[in-house]
Amino acid sequence: MLKILKYSFYDLMRSRWSYVYFAFYLLLGVVLLFLNNDLSKAVITLMNVIIILVPLIGTIFGVMYYYNSKEFTELLLAQPLKRSSIFLGQYLGVALSLSMSLILGLGIPFMFYGLFKSSAIWDFSLLLITGTFLTLIFTALAFNIALSNENKIKGFGYAILLWLFLAVIYDGLFLMTLIMFEDYPLDKLSLVGTMLNPIDLSRTLILLKLDISALLGYTGAVFKQFFGTNFGLIVSFIMLTVWVVLPVLRITFKAKKKDF
């Protein structure tokens, strides 16, 4: 698997898309720092951008890579290699190269701006960790979609739809549910609702950093335990890991069953 990971990674490093994403994040970092003139504020803006953009890029790029590397996959399939290692290797190749574009693209401008001397370094690290998690999750989801759909157009369609659903529509439905049942105690429901969507989950991690004052204004005991202690942080990270593991398991499962 590591060998396949290596070749996928090389393959991606060769393709111009990795550079496009790297350049994009670099530009984003530079522009935000230039506009805000303030590291902390730039980090806040970035957090808002990251939780929407990283999933979009992860899904689109994942689906694209899968369809584009069909030949490579076929070549590998002709070799005596384990199926699961072929697909996991490719998946990790994509996810890692995307994460690297993200970390380097954002890290470099912030480093030059004096990140290490700033108090924003923890927020920034959290941002990069969250971004990496989201990349891992959404690339895995993209691979799932692509593995289940031979038709490219359909695959892309589902990928965009998935992103749109998790980034926007889900929250809309969530909000409506909460308002509809406002007479009942809702703190458990709202936390569970958050756990079920990786974008919301990452958002909570960011809320824990930026909006803890507002979150503590709410009365619910479960809420309080979740946001008032490290419990929330730990649970969120566990759930993010689950969100990586489940789709990856499905990749191996699907890959084993598929005919080529």
Partner: protein
């Protein structure tokens, strides 16, 4: 070498293989024939584990392939359509495959044999179909495995390369290997194969030597023998 029992495979509603029983003995060249869509490639891919059968068992070298995928290291496989990552150079591709499977020096001889030296530094996307097929052949034959499976090996080859390929297959046979071939070129099949497996509508219709086929169909030559099977069955 390979034993197939009661193999069934369905793609959606399309029943491709329906109860194939086949035993391939050690040593010799076996040609798998049949009209388009009869299930040749599916059969081969089942042996390779690329297609998961709905029913039936396949044993390669005495091991059930469902249980363990290690048997694949003993098979060299030449896929039907040579699809390679287009931004890779020929040299890099060979190096990569060697890295993924195992080290070998056989590639040098094969590259010389098929006169591929001038293409080594070219990207695979810029190669002609025939050259790609030559690269494909090099990749397949450079490992010394007891079972070789060739899916349409002649596609796009010029006559000289075809002769070289035949020679290559013959040498491999003399080493005592088992070779499984599918092809549409009847003269090629007639030239090299020891035994024929004819698939029709997802079943083995005939298995035996060419001579036996000619006798069975009462035809003087191989091509007509095949044609008569097809017309008889469609009539």
């Amino acid at each position: 070498m390979v034993t197939i029992e009661n193999l069934h495979k369905k793609f959606g509603k399309n029943q491709v293989l329906s109860g194939v029983d086949l035993t391939i003995t050690d040593g010799g060249i076996f040609a798998v024939l049949g009209p388009n869509g009869s299930g040749k490639t599916t059969l081969i891919k089942s042996v390779l584990g690329m297609v998961i059968p709905n029913k039936g068992t396949i044993t390669v070298l005495g091991e059930d392939i469902k249980k363990n995928s290690d048997y694949r290291h003993k098979i060299d496989y030449l896929p039907q359509i040579a699809n390679f990552p287009s931004n890779l150079k020929v040299k890099e591709l060979i190096k990569m495959i060697k890295d993924l499977r195992k080290s070998t020096t056989e590639d040098q001889r094969l590259i010389e044999l098929f006169k591929l030296e001038p293409f080594l530094d070219k990207k695979l996307g810029n190669l002609s179909g025939g050259t790609k097929q030559k690269v494909n052949i090099v990749l397949t034959f450079m490992f010394n495995s007891p079972l070789i499976i060739l899916d349409e090996p002649t596609t796009g080859l010029d006559p000289i390369s075809l002769i070289r390929l035949k020679d290559l297959i013959q040498t491999e046979k003399t080493k005592g290997k088992t070779i499984l071939i599918t092809s549409h070129i009847m003269s090629f099949v007639e030239d090299i194969s020891d035994e024929i497996v004819f698939i029709l509508e997802g079943k083995i219709y005939f298995k035996g030597s060419i001579q036996k086929l000619k006798t069975k169909t009462n035809q003087p030559d191989f091509e007509h023998a095949i044609a008569s099977i097809l017309t008889d069955n469609h009539a």
